[in-house]
């Protein structure tokens, strides 16, 4: 048999039908549902008088609209509340394997709770009406973000209509320096290949630096595959994958576990498998990253400077950079560590897992948030992450330093709830998108790792976490 990539193995094992032109039906094992992209899909089912094909593939939660404080007061905004109540009603009417509604102790960001519950398993196909579904690829699951019509399509047929992507291998070899994290790796990758560099590809992240990452770190990397344009990011199965999955609520047990593990161990690219594109980075070259613009590709190192559009030969790109600098209110050649901040957000499906909170807490321990910071907040990715952090006393470390400790949810990653930037405010954020207005109209977002966000909170401006302390 010819050597196959991990992507090809996952594709082949879910291929239901393939038309002459390569349009395929791919079977979906896990369908993650949240309140924002599902109401119109369920409405569509209702109108067409269709039933969900396999209810026990659905795992649902409310995360995008939910407030992060005063939970006892419910959801204030009536429009948000209606959306969450609509999900409640759809769950009641159509059913799910499990639903974590607002106020549930295990509620959280859909991409945090999937893996945490063992609802994401190696070898699965996973979809969700959210572009960061690529996160689940850290488990060698073939995971795609989809739109609402596709949500309806998967509900009705358990399948996706798609064509096979090309395969890209991004290898990060070597050892990451102290203070350099998974977030810095993926931002460096996006800086290198661009925000459309992965369009049309399924990316497999490989190399010793990726293998050295924890599962949390691999999820951070795969989470941002979409910011490089790739719908799917993947990491091969190894012992860390298996250990992470072991004993979780929906993980197999007993003889079934052994059988599953034997299969999961085959989920890696064969030696000699060919990729359509190969990118290589040296781990030693990667420094802590900070974005300066309005797209994740607009990134530099913390010891770098805001770039000068005048140096850019391509007129379309130059115009794009000028527009971004104007929006960000930054001057060319400003050192990144001289940029003062207003708000700090540690959270989002990129960086709200226990390891992220530990890394941030280690930086802030015993220190105080700088006087110019109007708000520094930590939003755990799920109720379980929050409980674990509280068990470890991390909440106390944060609150003693002047951070707010909030309830789980998407929060200021996209500001569908009250957590937003005001116009002109500048934020160091552990989320994944620095688009115009993403965190609030007129808000200015700089993407960084949790440790870098924590250090920036204490210093009041960006600072190199490798020498901070």
């Amino acid at each position: 048999m010819t050597a196959r990539t991990l992507y090809a193995k996952l594709w082949d094992s879910h291929l239901v039908h393939e038309g002459e032109d390569g349009t395929a039906l791919i079977y979906i094992d896990r369908h993650l549902v949240h309140e924002v992209t599902s109401p119109q899909a369920y409405e569509g089912l209702r109108l067409a008088n269709r039933k969900p094909w396999r209810v026990d593939s659905v795992v649902a939660t409310a995360d995008h609209n939910t407030p992060t404080r005063d939970w006892d007061k419910g959801i204030k905004d009536p429009v948000s509340r209606l959306q969450v109540e609509t999900l409640d009603a759809n769950m009641k009417e159509f059913g799910a394997k499990v639903y974590f509604p607002f106020l549930d102790k295990q509620q959280g960001i859909v991409h945090v709770i999937g893996p945490e519950q063992g609802a994401t398993l190696p070898g699965m196909t996973v979809v969700c009406g959210d572009s960061h579904t690529s996160t689940h690829g850290a488990f060698a699951a073939l995971a795609f973000g989809i739109g609402t019509s596709e949500v309806e399509h998967v509900l009705a047929s358990q399948c996706m209509v798609m064509k096979k992507s090309k395969a890209m291998r991004i290898a990060v070899e070597g050892k990451l320096g102290a203070g350099v994290t998974a977030k810095d790796v993926v931002l460096a990758v996006i800086g290198k290949i661009g925000s459309a560099g992965g369009t049309g590809y399924a990316i497999e992240f490989a190399g010793s630096a990726i293998r050295d990452l924890s599962m949390e770190g691999r999820m951070t990397v795969c989470n941002m595959a979409i910011e490089a344009g790739a719908r799917t990011g993947l990491v091969a199965v190894d012992e860390k994958t298996i250990e992470y999955v072991r004993g979780r609520r929906f993980s197999p047990t007993g003889a079934m576990w052994d059988r599953a593990v034997a299969y999961w161990r085959t989920l890696k690219s064969d030696d000699g498998a060919t990729f359509d594109s190969v990118v290589e980075l040296r781990a030693e070259d990667i420094k802590p990253q900070v974005t300066w613009g309005t797209n994740p590709q607009m990134v530099t190192t913390v010891d770098g400077k805001v770039p000068d559009p005048a140096q850019e030969p391509d007129p379309v790109k130059r115009e794009w950079m000028e527009r971004a600098l104007k929006y960000m209110d930054l001057k060319p050649n400003t050192p990144m560590n001289a940029i003062p901040l207003d708000k700090i957000f540690i959270g989002a499906c990129t960086n709200s897992r226990i390891e992220d909170l530990r890394a941030a807490a280690a930086v802030v321990e015993g220190k105080r948030v700088a006087a110019n910071i109007k708000l520094a907040m930590v939003v755990p990715g799920s109720g379980l992450v929050k409980a674990q952090a509280e068990k470890e006393g991390l909440d106390k470390v944060f609150t003693a330093a002047g951070f707010e400790w909030r309830e789980p949810g998407c929060s200021m990653c996209l500001g569908m709830n009250d957590d937003q930037l005001s116009p002109g405010e500048r934020c160091a954020s552990t989320s994944n998108r620095n688009f115009e207005g993403r965190q609030g109209p007129g808000g200015r977002t700089h993407l960084v790792s949790p440790a870098m966000a924590a250090a920036a909170a204490i210093a009041g401006h960006f600072v190199d976490v490798r020498t901070f302390g």
Binding site: V36, P39, H153, S157, E319
Partner: protein, 212 residues
Amino acid sequence: MEKFIRKEGLVAPLDRANVDTDAVIPKQFLKSIKRTGFGPNLFDEWRYLDHGEPDMDHSKRPLRPDFVLNQKRYQGATVLLARENFGCGSSREHAPWALLQYGFQAVIAPSFADIFFNNSLKNGLVLIRLDARTVDKLFKETQASEGYRLAIDLEQQSVTTPTGESFHFDIDPFRKHCILNGLDDIGLTLEHADKIRAFEAKHRGAQPWLFA
């Protein structure tokens, strides 16, 4: 979904690269549980001077005079001309809904982001990829002559300028078939229901833990 065969329409040039779907339709409008009503909020932050919220009367809001869609000469545009990587970012299908409900029937750009591409085709918004040089030329022609229109023929896969110059574009045959005939994807897939059931049984045998 409306059938799309041949359409001819006024072109509006949106001269920005990497337009993301957060810009196409900002998050506050994603709280809706309906599929309609997004047209007034297309490019909301670029289009209006004030901050928009779903419950406002958008017809009374102050417009940003320099935004291209607010210029008199582009009123009634049905073809949007854009730069590379249009539609990147969030998977929100509200983006193609907003474009269609505003009145656009087609977007021409050198490249589109993958999820946006799929979402658009599922709604009959025709996305046309032309090489960057051609797109650049169309930008110049659009900006140079008021009332510039393009004819888009999906059957022939061609875009024709007012001077009769014609460009060929590629489109996936399956998608073309669906758009030309206004076909419902789900109905087509469910024609394979027996195959799906057979696959499911085999899959359950191979990986029973997925069905536990």
